[in-house]
Symmetry: C2
Subunit: 152 residues, 2 copies
């Protein structure tokens, strides 16, 4: 069971965490690099949530890098439980943020160009898409770790 | 472990399922009883998801009623796993629907009364609130059953 791919400390987990870091950072940057996101609550919420997801997945990525390339870390049930709960909570939060951003952007696009210039709207859409991808990978990590938990 | 409150077949589970049925039906009715929900994708999505949640929670409520009042049903790992996966999937879907509806409604309210008459907007808000409550109870059911799974 120690070889289960996707659980903490394996190379599959490292790949998942790497993807989460990339996508959540991309989502944050697409939303933050223009200054108009304060106008809508949904966009502020996305920025807040991605501000939580980025350090979380980056920390776990560093742990995975250490475990894969340097020294294999033993798994402890308590730490795994905390990671599973954190992943589940963050995946719910990032799904909520992605959905809010997507529906707000959709509505802005359909209201016409006065509410949302073409360049800004594309950015919002890209940011929502990146948030969805980050949610999906976070859900994957969480489920793989959950699968491992009973054997610990 | 058979007495764990909240797992399938207990009275706490019955209460959770009852709440889910009430809230998801209320959310569906608040959204459907006026005919304008076709205009926005988020509202159509909410109606679709609540149309899945209502029969699911109603079926499980009937199973719980049978188990609590008539004859105690033995738990089987495979059926419990299916129920946990269904609950998790539906809780993600209903969270997504609730967030989309809430952010669309928020934007419509802030755009002014021409987009959203006062009576309709209150209905949309109530519908989103009910969807959030339904998500919360569904998450509860799912976590309680998940807690029980390793002991089966």
């Amino acid at each position: 069971m120690d070889e289960l791919p996707g659980s903490l400390g394996t190379s599959a987990s490292l790949a998942l965490r790497f993807g989460q870091t990339i996508f959540s950072t991309a989502s944050l940057l697409f939303m933050c690099l223009d200054v108009e996101f304060y106008s809508y609550t949904a966009f502020c919420y996305l920025v807040t949530v991605m501000g939580l997801v980025v350090p979380w997945s980056m920390t776990l990525m560093i742990v995975d890098v250490y475990s894969v390339f340097f020294r294999y870390l033993p798994r402890r049930p308590r730490i795994t439980t905390i990671i599973i709960l954190g992943d589940l909570a963050l995946s719910y939060l990032s799904l909520a943020a992605a959905c809010s951003t997507a529906s707000t952007t959709y509505l802005l696009v359909h209201l016409g160009r006065s509410y949302c210039p073409a360049k800004l709207c594309t950015r919002y859409q890209l940011s929502a898409a990146m948030a969805f991808l980050s949610w999906f990978l976070s859900l994957g990590s969480s489920l793989f770790n959950l699968w491992l938990l009973p054997s610990l």
